[in-house]
Amino acid sequence: MRARLGAVAAIALSGLFLGGCSSPQLSNESVETESSESSKPSVVTATTLSILSNVQAGTPAGDVLDAVIATFEVNTGAKVELVQVGEDIPIIYETSVAGGKEADIVMVNLTSNTKPWLGQGISVPVTDFIKDWNLTDSILPAAVEIWTDSEGRVQGFPYSGFVWPVWYNMELLNSVGVDAPPSTMLELLYVARELREKGIAPFVIGGNDWSGQKLFLQIIQSYMPTEEAVDVFSTGGYCASANAMKGINLFVQLRDEGVFIDDAEGYTAAQMNASFFEGRAAMMSAGSWAMGASPEDLRENVVLGGLPLPSAGSAFSKPTAYQGYTGGGFFVSNNGAAEEKMPLVKEFVSLWYSPEVASSWAAATNAPNAFLGASSLDGGITNTLTKQVVENFYDRVEFAVMPDPLLPGGMAPEMIRQTSLAYAPGSSSTAICEAIDGLY
């Protein structure tokens, strides 16, 4: 431990790293008083709760967060110190832990970067809290299972979920004589050819970022049974897996036959959304978080479906999509688990599972979430895409293995650089699998 602190001090001194990863200065004020009557100190509730969150301000979800904080402050009289950050949240939290200034609660998704926290002792298991705070009936058991580590400890309170379908612009598909989303890869190739002949970009994807990485990993598991996909994503061996290689060959075929938009390797998720929303591309792979931002007049033309299957030998019986309950949740830090903080942490987390807040969150995120009994998805839905998800989406797709929690920690950025290269014409299947295996 001393060596670790020494090294932390050394790195703090060095200042050699780039800026942009400053640790948030989160206060952990608490009030500790000594009883005048007894020598035993009595601990009273803290007056401040610090929260580090990746929920962005100014978004519908951010508005819900603001409202929850306001309610919490009124209910408890305590003050919330909120720090909102972006994709760098894991390293920001870890830096703050190294500096002894970590937040009490971290609102973040469960990924390969956040999964090690419990094992590293920088977050606490919430298994008992779920029971003690009567939240068992409020949380979807499947979500709890995903958030449970190999030792049976629940790593955080699961909250946000998502579905990740393929979006089909039926107006554009109809314009080339296609009246239903393709269900096989052969059909997809045909549709892509027809669309290209008409000057319409077929499948837009953010080949330059995580959205392209997810589609790549979805395509390559077309032939892989679940266990094999889990194994390959966790430990590598893409080149050695015949099924993974068949999937990579399929990806290369789709790329080379022009299914993806030209220069797909240069697109980001934001540019992908913009292209699809503006009707410049007929298909895209995007999560439920994009539904709220989609133009209303486009929604009527969109059918949400799955990724078509190979014509033979598929590991699935229906087109595939992703779903998950790892989209967001609440980690409790050691600071948050301190006795004087516990009442505030309990109040804050419990508030999120109240029917009102859960409904607001569901409406804001347009997705099935990890909580039970209070989903606005059951009624009063105004977004027609969300309505599709609730009404018939689950019958039409089968869910592929979500790779994020399985990839070794810290690998995602490197893998994204390699999958970006895979979208560029000329990369062979062997080069792609070797590059990805080289990351493990």
Binding site: A7, L16, F17, T95, E265, G266, M411, R417, S420
Partner: protein, 299 residues
């Protein structure tokens, strides 16, 4: 008989000894915050340290041994050399000529100074956002190419393996040439105009006046600017790469300074990242020595 000069030097020494108490705190401060980090870098490079909050252990030189067989490191090493070989030979002469031109105070030179200095007034983030839009698949460059019938030349500039790193270097040059030209112009303004007028009377054209007169006069100054630009390119370009390409596609735009960042913060290999930083430090030291040698004033 006491030698007065010895007495004088003794007095000066005593005075210096007294003064040393005044500058000692500054030396300590400087040592702590400047030499300390340097020593920390060397120390950390000897550790296996998988993340800021993880335990670390002393592994000797194994991080350096790992470098030898790390393809990504060698690719970054090559990219850094390419970057220096491309950026400095374009930036310095172009800036010097522009600086000379400005120092001649041509009509509109004040406006030109403002225009040339503008890139230095734009933050790295704003600059990167602008260039992300310019080089996007449907961005300004590709749209313009399409407009003039050269659509076949359009490409995802920041995501193509053949153009990503070149594009980053182009942005670097865009930001550096004007600013450096202003620095050169400031130095050349201190040269008496008579020198250039006399050369003109002797029939020397602008080209000759720049390279046969202005450059030798400013030789040492050019050396200092070359050194600063070299340091910036080697150490400071990671920010631009992070914001524009994140080192991709693959590792085609990864250079050493970005790799130091990436291995530390993305891959959580802090000891290894500092081993790369040590190599980078050595390269920069050697480069500085070479630049000082090349630009030292001729006797």
């Amino acid at each position: 008989m006491i030698d007065t000069s010895s007495r004088h030097s003794l007095g000066v020494r005593r005075e210096n000894t007294k003064l040393s108490f005044l500058w000692l705190p500054a030396v300590f401060w400087y040592t702590f915050f400047t030499v300390g980090p340097l020593l920390a870098m060397f120390y950390i490079s000897l550790l296996e340290w998988p993340g800021l909050i993880a335990e670390n252990s002393f592994v000797g030189l194994s991080n350096f041994e790992k470098l030898a067989s790390d393809d990504v490191f060698w690719q970054a090493f090559r990219n850094s050399l390419i970057q220096i070989a491309v950026v400095l030979p374009i930036l310095l002469p172009t800036s010097f000529m522009l600086g000379y031109y400005l120092s001649q105070k041509p009509p509109g030179h004040r406006l030109l100074r403002v225009i040339l200095f503008t890139p230095a007034l734009i933050s790295l983030s704003a600059k990167s956002t602008m260039f992300l839009a310019i080089f996007a698949p449907l961005g300004l460059i590709n749209s313009s190419l399409e407009l003039v019938g050269l659509g076949a030349l359009s490409t995802p500039w920041l995501a193509s393996s053949s153009t990503a790193f070149g594009t980053v270097m182009a942005v670097e040059l865009w930001g550096g040439i004007g600013f450096t030209a202003i620095l050169f112009a400031a130095r050349l303004s201190g040269v008496t105009p008579d020198v250039f007028e006399a050369a003109a009377l002797d029939g020397a054209g602008h080209w000759k006046r720049i390279w046969a007169i202005a450059f030798p006069i400013c030789r040492e100054y050019v050396g200092v600017i070359a050194m600063l630009q070299f340091i910036w390119v080697m150490f400071g370009s990671a920010g631009l790469i992070l914001l524009l390409t994140r080192g991709g596609p693959g590792n085609y735009s990864t250079n050493l300074s970005f790799l130091v960042y990436d291995t530390a913060f993305s891959q959580q290999q802090i000891g290894y990242s500092q081993a790369i930083a040590v190599v980078l430090f050595a390269i920069v030291l050697a480069g500085i020595a070479l630049i000082r040698f090349s630009f030292r004033a001729k006797e």
